[in-house]
Symmetry: C3
Subunit: 385 residues, 3 copies
């Protein structure tokens, strides 16, 4: 417990909340110009969650992953290595893959227009008739590639030509949640949502429980909102945990566990729900008995696609009795998600008012202030105090 | 009649129409930039029709009223006074009310996100946990309020911080239509329309009957288009009346009255239909036997929501026999409205032509020239002659 | 054959393809600003296909033809002459005609709003009550007119005030396809499509058969893609022909002719399919047994309406047996069109990628380079090499 005392800080008790904290100006949620800047400096520069490794299990399996206005092919090659390529032919710019997922059965990525053919690692293998084009070299024309980073069974991609090292940006995750053995877990269920709000509102919503008593009566019973403590306060990864009021509980309709503890989870972690936001596209929430994560995709300045996944150990997934009971967790989070989406969407609407300028955060919302700072740092913006 | 002779002037007969009158350039109907300027300088500066007083009869009753891109809560407090508040929480900008109408049963306006709670007059009553926020004062954080003006049972609101006095802008209405006892009348019926045209086109359409012979054959039979005379020629209120060809008539499918004369209406008014536009959101039309008004809400540069209401005395509304006969007025105006909307929408489409510049008004359209001047004055624009 | 040798050149064989040819930058397919410039400098300046003469057969018959954001009335007058007028009343700018086609039964073009009435040649005949407007002259207020050019039974219009002479721009067509007697042919069938891509992509698609082996397996059997030769290499009209592998064939589901040879078509032309693009709105394709043409209408920067027509001699149209067999040509081209639209739409999608810059053309795509040059010349743009 000594250790925990040092790592974690409880807001309003252990650290200084005397700062006067204002939110971002309303333009940050509505301006098309700022959104385009966010695409360039955040979504096309930072490490973005693409998928789980299990989603491209075999050589030739691929997903097409939208990142802002780009489309990326995530594919596993013959050696088992995962690649990410811009979904655009080097010949004249045709989008190569139209399906959300599939299999390159031929072992090649072939453009449907003029049949240019690429190897799974992106090298141009064949460009019909281009031998007559003066000076044309296949080696000059591989698919544009994005960078790939792996952690805990998650596949992250980075569209920048020279990205910050994965280890630097995601370092705070390394060594975390070892007891859950994340790489061994598999997707047990997926919920998908479209939200009419800016992507930052959902991250903010996730990092404060000030709204819980009014918005989530049931969640507030299982985890009192004042129980939140944090150990990551700045950078790409921020978060902490909330304490459950009952031992052996979890976030389900009846407050009891929905499955056996995950792998080696034990001790304090049996009574905690962790909430980490991995800027800007992953919300990760290990529970004692499952792992929940949200994959946030920004579609437009005021629109999000959010896919919410539940991870379990394959042994649990294979047991019908367990999966029947597990519905209680799915039902709980679907209900709770929708409660959140509603207030996020109302905030987006309210921000249309020209009379409103910047919100004043409560000490309970200090992590939002940290999120805002990460946004401003990425954009290189300095706000007047 | 002496008095009437002095007050009213008949176009083309009693006053000078020798001026060469051109319409507004086509950009005034299509440019997003000019529309944004109109929002700022007209819709957020002038007195806008919100509703009738009867629509918020009891303490706690509210409507949410869209004004341009703003949303305003119109609510009656415990003392019976009507308030108008921006529908945006002072905490982080959440839109508070989503329903078109409702009742604050608790006696408070409460934000659904973090439960900030305001009194009906807008004062912040409770802001949970903000006592820990250094320097935060509830008295600094009431709802932003809009101004309220009342006339004839109508509720007007003004979003400006320091609006022109209601009496100054609406002065031309005061003392008018006393015989109708407008505050005593109640809504008997509502027709709602969405139009694909700029808001000014519907005001212009309302202020000339040059189009009536071709567009409204029936209306032209009951009120010949040359019968129009006017007494308000400039400012926010302009209009006059048309004379019915038959005594005891009204604007109905058979040209006969649809109800008994309204309250004290008598004499010349039994044979007149009045048409006043109250810039920029009310078209008011007292008939001998009912009062019709249009509430114009601009939704976008080329889109309007128009609600058309029929007012009658409660005694008439309470009598089924009267209401059955009154269908004839509703049917007449629904037909006539649709005839107008069609040509307004065709004019909006035609104005896409780059070849067209400015229209030349006929003397019959002198009131449109007055309307245009009011627009230009509000915008501070001067057009080249 | 001597003559043909001189006129026609076979790509990659008879002429120089040693130039390094790059495509247009991606902005030319997506930028709203460049699209607006194209409207002004191409669609409102060049000769645009409106319709066939047969579509307005009698005096008073009209079509409304969209050109960019303009609407044009194409009408035949009492003397049989075809006129083109902007579909906008000179009074206040109302769009006069809303239907796609119709008949001015009164012999006049009358505005639905205030009943201004124009002769079929555009002169203002009656403007009610405008005699009171000081200085107003009907002769100053005819409909704005567009220019009309006729060739081969096609009606072209030009919206510029002082267009380049029809003969200059379309000169390359004159004297061509005499054996088909184009003016005598009539529309036998129409296929209509909406495509989500820029208008230039469909012209480019039409001028190369590099994509044929992969996209059009059947077309490639009837006309091997290397058989293409061209005689028009620059200017508004570019194109040539492809040779059929079987004599007596045509572009049908079974590769055999769908109808008797058109009028006087004989000799080499019995084995050729001609493909000409008439910049920017007509793709013309005389076959031995019918004439196919596409009328391209740009609706937005990324949207096209394409109407595809089949022309036959009236004697063939009148013969049910012929028309039954002719389904084979319709079916072939509907299938082939859809194959093309799919790759055009995928190219439009791919061009969203900021990573992609300019495509490298193969020698097979030299005509696209010629098309691009025509676009750049019209816009007055010079690209960095």
């Amino acid at each position: 417990m000594q250790d925990t005392q040092q790592r974690f800080k409880k807001r309003g008790v252990d650290y200084d909340v005397s700062e006067v904290m204002f939110g971002l100006p309303r333009e940050y949620y509505q301006s098309e110009a700022i959104y385009q800047e966010e695409l360039e400096k955040i979504f096309y520069q930072r490490w973005i969650l693409a998928c789980r490794e299990e989603e491209v299990p075999e050589p030739g399996d691929y997903l097409t992953v939208p990142v802002g206005e780009e489309s990326i092919i995530v594919v596993r090659d013959e050696q088992g290595q995962i690649h990410a390529h811009f979904n655009v032919c080097r010949h004249r710019g045709t989008r190569i893959c139209m399906e959300e997922k599939g299999q390159f059965a031929s072992g090649f990525i072939q453009c449907p227009y003029h049949a240019w053919r690429y190897k799974l690692d992106g090298h141009l293998k064949a460009a019909p008739l281009m031998k007559d084009a003066p000076g044309f070299q296949k080696t000059d024309n591989p698919l544009f590639s994005a960078h790939v980073g792996l952690w805990g069974g998650f596949v992250f991609i980075n569209l920048a030509e020279e990205p910050a090292p994965f280890e630097d940006e995601m370092g705070a995750l390394f060594g975390k949640f070892e007891d859950w053995k994340l790489p061994e877990l598999r997707i047990a269920h997926q919920l998908s949502y479209t939200l009419s709000c800016n992507w930052k509102l959902i991250l903010q919503n996730y990092q404060e429980c000030y709204h819980c008593p009014g918005v989530h009566p049931l969640l507030s019973r299982w985890t009192p909102f004042r129980s939140a403590v944090h150990d990551c306060f700045d950078g790409a990864v921020i978060g902490g945990y909330m304490e459950m009021s009952e031992p052996g509980g979890s976030m389900t309709m009846d407050g009891k566990a929905a499955a056996p503890p995950v792998c080696n989870v034990s001790g304090d972690d049996l009574q905690r729900v962790h909430y980490y936001s991995v800027f800007p596209s992953l919300l990760l929430s290990p529970h004692p008995d499952f792992v929940l994560y949200h994959r946030i995709r920004s579609v437009a300045v005021g629109q999000i696609r959010n896919d919410c996944f539940f991870l379990l150990h394959p042994d649990v997934i294979g047991e019908p009795k367990h999966m029947e009971r597990f519905q209680s967790a799915i039902e709980f989070w679907d209900m709770t998600n929708r409660q959140d989406w509603r207030v996020c969407e109302q905030m987006q609407l309210g921000l249309t008012s020209r009379r409103f300028e910047r919100g004043r955060y409560s000490p309970q919302e200090d992590m939002l202030y940290a999120l805002d700072k990460e946004v401003l740092k990425a954009l290189g913006h300095v706000l007047p105090e």
